[in-house]
Symmetry: C2
Subunit: 601 residues, 2 copies
């Protein structure tokens, strides 16, 4: 078992040196905090991760939840972890004081998510609870808040997001779960939901589903979907809780993240499931979408966390495992074997992992920072932050997920045959991370969101704002001779994106949306590489300035030089991939749009 | 469970129409065969695959071998399968009549491997037995042949390749298992082997290890390694078999291919393990290497087979699963949802899978054909075939493995959330295929073999021969107006490879081997794309000619048009990746060679 699963040094570098998290405390809402309280929260999460999570990484995977006699049993440590997270205030870290939270920035609460998911992503329970509770605090009545939020934030109750139905996976307009008004203002719920993470288990005393359903007579499509609180046990109005007729119909057995049950739930088997409307009727989807950015940061963080844990396992192994001699010393059979980190190919794989994982984390903290500003700032600052966040969101969800899958694959490869065995954690992490390009909107859907909505909204203002931000970093980098070539390269990459858009946008203008979006996934990939290149240049600028002004020594010097080196790696190995992507994206040949004449696939 | 796991139509197309397998029967050695006997063998393998293998795909995965009281128990169907394969003559398909085989070309026996691995790769037993028996028939004494080969080919005994040791994974020069001569000409064996696939199990009556060991006093390094037959039960000279002190120390639990036990074996715990020298002392490694091409074709085939099975599962699902509306019809909420195959992004993923899997199979059959010619032809024809095969081998092993991993990942993605569950076979196939870039020399090692040995051997004659072969295909394609642009593109790609080599070879000439090979894996990737582009153009030429001359209708027309369409897909989506790879490979910046000054990774 790898002993290191994330780098607190790197987290501090990004939070404090690159993104200057403390600047957020200038806003009233965050003014109770400072750098020290931020670090205390991180330390508190690390303690829980070290003691209650990481030691059970394998165990939680090996003992997957089973449904027996209608009851789902999960690993006993889950209850301890939920309780500890609640007691440390970490489930409510991002909630306002008014709602019993710590009123911390998303930047900090997403770091908590990063740490605990790096420790043991099979214990992915509290992020779901936070998300569900946040829907109630944002849109629910005072009664709903009072009835549900305190127990959720305490970790005694579990929250879920109950969107997906068997016939409506990615297509929420086809949701059919029904809600029939009752005289007391509540609703009778009937329907089925699938893939509900933590949708039932015995580590919480109650399960609170934030569920999409359609009120009888509601308009078709997404405009007729409402949001409900549907508890497993509902209050009977006399201080007791009664069974709410939410049946666990099945638990999916999965390739990874086995610690979290993905439930198939049936509401209303006995015509006795009650739901409580959150906010206004037919506003379910807009409500969900307002939470989507937070949820997608969460998935991106989970992916970045898993790939980080795999990277440190691979790095540790590569430093310790002797195998063969260096390529220029092949004939020295008397010399001892060299640690595999000294083979260029292994070093390339490790640098790839470092570039992907630390680049992803940087992008996610950038997104979290924008989220915070969009929440607490005012006027143009708020609006611009929101636009930028909206644009970056599909990338911040997909890049860590898609590239994380590849990164963990390289972690497995670093171990050779051992990587395929259960003796080391990487095979599990390889299985675990594969869900992240699917959760919360697949990569294909993120790509359509980016190219189909975010690029063009408000007359293309969001990419303008982004390019202005990137240009600031380019200007800073250009003042250092050794960073200037990379700044210039990034300028070229921005032009490349503009050229690609110039060749695609006419299709959108002509209403040929299918054609416009046919290679959207490749555009997302291209855009992701450039955005992460920007994050690396940003890190390199800070590292360079620190080396120049503070002259750090030893490990610290090596840390900063490693940042610059990895930035170079990213530009020399990852950025050239944009060439082929741009060629394809500008290519007029259409090969994926279905025609009358069907081909044999 | 997907009902289709490979396409016999495609196999026949490649075997008979593209590679004209029957032409091999002009050689004396294969003259007993014709197209009909080839097809009978394929049908026979299909029957076993359909009845004894595919139905147990999940079961074999769910019930992984366990070591209890020194005995490894495997799924009971394995014994039936071994027996059926032996009785059908499929374990000995490629062996000479003299050795009790069917004297079939590798082209055909590798198709057998493809079919059975597509059906259930967790039953990967007989390929190992063939490989072990082949070492005995090629280099062993008549006594060894008589004592071991018949039972191996009958499927009653299991063969293994016992190379890897705990301290010597990829570095065979560091093998330490010892062999001490005994007065009767046999050897006492002492040591440990790890990752020995099928290294012990109860579905065979005896396990025959083809084991590398070092005779006392042998030279250091690879020049002192000898090959031995080390049985689990050895003949006592009086017609009985006695325990040979080969202890099953452990069974690795693995992420995938769970049906095959990967054993940790200890020889000589009681100082009573006897081995029998195969061929001459100190020739173990050359012997193994002569079998290596066959073994690597086998791994490539396994990868192509797994990704093919995943592709057909995804294709079937995409045709049946309705979800959302086409992008130009988003507002038609009254219309039914469309099958996801009609979404361009899903179609792109499926075409990618088809392009990778059928391109890989084509390349592997090309390699098998060259193998056959190199075995039975004479003079220059033989020599050229051998050189070409040697050059293509690292690609034919790595491309199907590396790209197969990506292809199966896209199969998972096609299923969305369901792909992550055990309800469909793709999650298992995703786990299974991950070992193939590690087996029989990791991708990094294949890359060093390609760039470090194969490109430069005999003054670069092998790439010259390859380029001449590719040029023939280019010339054929150029006669068709609609294929000519792709022929021209392939010419450009050949130039690109030459440019890359021109920039790299000076390092080799200056003895800077580490520098020369530092990005060898990227060169292998580049080379693989171009070689598979050639295979696709080859297929497209045949499809085009058939469409022109035979005017096929219905499904047949659609089959051939699908081939041309997929060729185009490969050139428009995969080939542009060479641009970025070439930029990196010609880039003078070195970032992966270890220097005095250590960086923080």
């Amino acid at each position: 078992m790898a002993t290191t699963y994330f780098s607190k040094r790197n987290l501090h570098f990004l939070l404090h040196e690159v993104f200057k998290a403390e600047e957020l405390t200038k806003y009233d809402y965050f003014s109770a905090h400072d750098r020290e309280t931020f670090n205390l929260v991180i330390d508190s999460a690390t303690y829980i991760a070290d003691t209650l999570m990481h030691p059970y990484l394998k165990e939680v995977d090996r003992n997957q939840p089973e449904l027996k006699n209608g009851q789902v049993t999960v690993h006993p440590k889950i209850r301890e972890y939920l309780k500890a997270m609640g007691e440390a205030g970490l489930i409510g870290a991002g909630f306002s004081f008014e709602h019993g939270g710590q009123q911390l920035p998303e930047m900090i609460s997403s770091c908590v998510g990063f740490i605990i998911m790096a420790a043991n992503n099979g214990m992915m329970y509290t992020g779901l609870t936070s998300g569900a509770a946040h829907l109630i605090t944002s849109f629910g009545s005072p009664e709903l808040n009072e009835a549900y939020v305190p127990n959720l934030l305490a970790g005694t109750w579990q929250g879920t997001m109950a969107l997906t139905e068997p016939q409506a996976g990615s297509s929420l307009s086809d949701v059919t779960t029904s809600a029939t008004p009752l005289p007391d203002g509540s609703y009778k719920i009937q329907g089925q939901k699938v893939f509900i993470s933590a949708g039932d288990h015995d580590a919480a005393e109650n399960i609170i589903h934030l569920m999409l359903a359609r009120i009888d007579g509601a308009p078709k499509g997404t405009k007729g979907i409402s949001l409900f609180v549907v508890p497993k046990y509902r209050p009977d109005g006399q201080g007791n809780f009664v069974d709410n007729d939410v049946t666990s119909t099945g638990v999916y057995h999965k390739m990874g993240q086995k610690g979290v049950p993905a439930m198939h739930l049936t509401m209303g088997s006995n015509d006795n499931t009650i739901g409580y409307l959150v906010g206004q009727p037919h506003q379910g989807l807009p409500y969900m979408f307002q939470m989507m950015n937070e949820a997608r940061i969460g998935v991106g963080m989970t992916a970045a966390a898993i790939s980080t844990a795999a990277y440190y396992a691979a790095l540790e192994y590569a430093k310790e495992r002797p195998q063969s001699r260096r390529l220029n010393q092949k004939n020295l059979l008397d010399s001892p074997q060299t640690p595999i980190i000294n083979h260029p190919d292994v070093r390339r794989m490790l640098l790839f992992q470092k570039a992907v994982t630390e680049g992803s984390l940087s992008l996610l903290l950038e997104a979290a920072r924008l989220y915070d500003i969009s929440e607490v700032a005012e006027g143009e600052e708020k609006e611009n932050a929101f636009l930028l966040l909206d644009l970056l969101m599909p990338v911040a969800k997909s890049y860590p997920s898609e590239m994380g899958v590849q990164s963990v694959s390289q972690s497995v490869q670093t171990f050779g045959g051992y990587g395929f065995t259960e003796d080391f954690p990487v095979e599990q992490l390889y299985r675990d991370i594969r869900i992240t390009p699917i959760y919360e909107g697949t990569t294909g859907i993120q790509a359509q969101d980016l190219l189909g909505r975010k690029i063009t909204m408000k007359g293309g203002k969001a990419p303008q704002l982004l390019f202005a931000e990137i240009s600031k970093t380019i200007a800073e980098a250009s003042t250092h001779d050794d960073l200037k070539p990379y700044a210039d390269q990034l300028t070229t990459e921005l032009k490349r994106i503009q050229e690609v858009l110039a060749s695609l946008l006419p299709f959108a203008q002509q209403g040929e949306i299918e054609r416009y979006l046919s290679d959207a996934t490749l555009f997302l990939e291209l855009f992701g590489i450039v955005v992460v290149a920007w994050q690396w240049l940003k890190q390199a600028v800070v590292a360079k300035q620190t080396l120049l002004t503070q002259n750090p020594q030893g490990d610290e010097q090596s840390f900063y030089e490693g940042k610059i080196h990895t930035m170079k790696f990213f530009f020399h190995y990852e950025v050239p991939k944009t060439l082929g992507l741009a060629v394809r994206l500008k290519d007029p040949e259409v090969l994926t749009i279905v025609t009358e004449k069907e081909l044999a696939l």
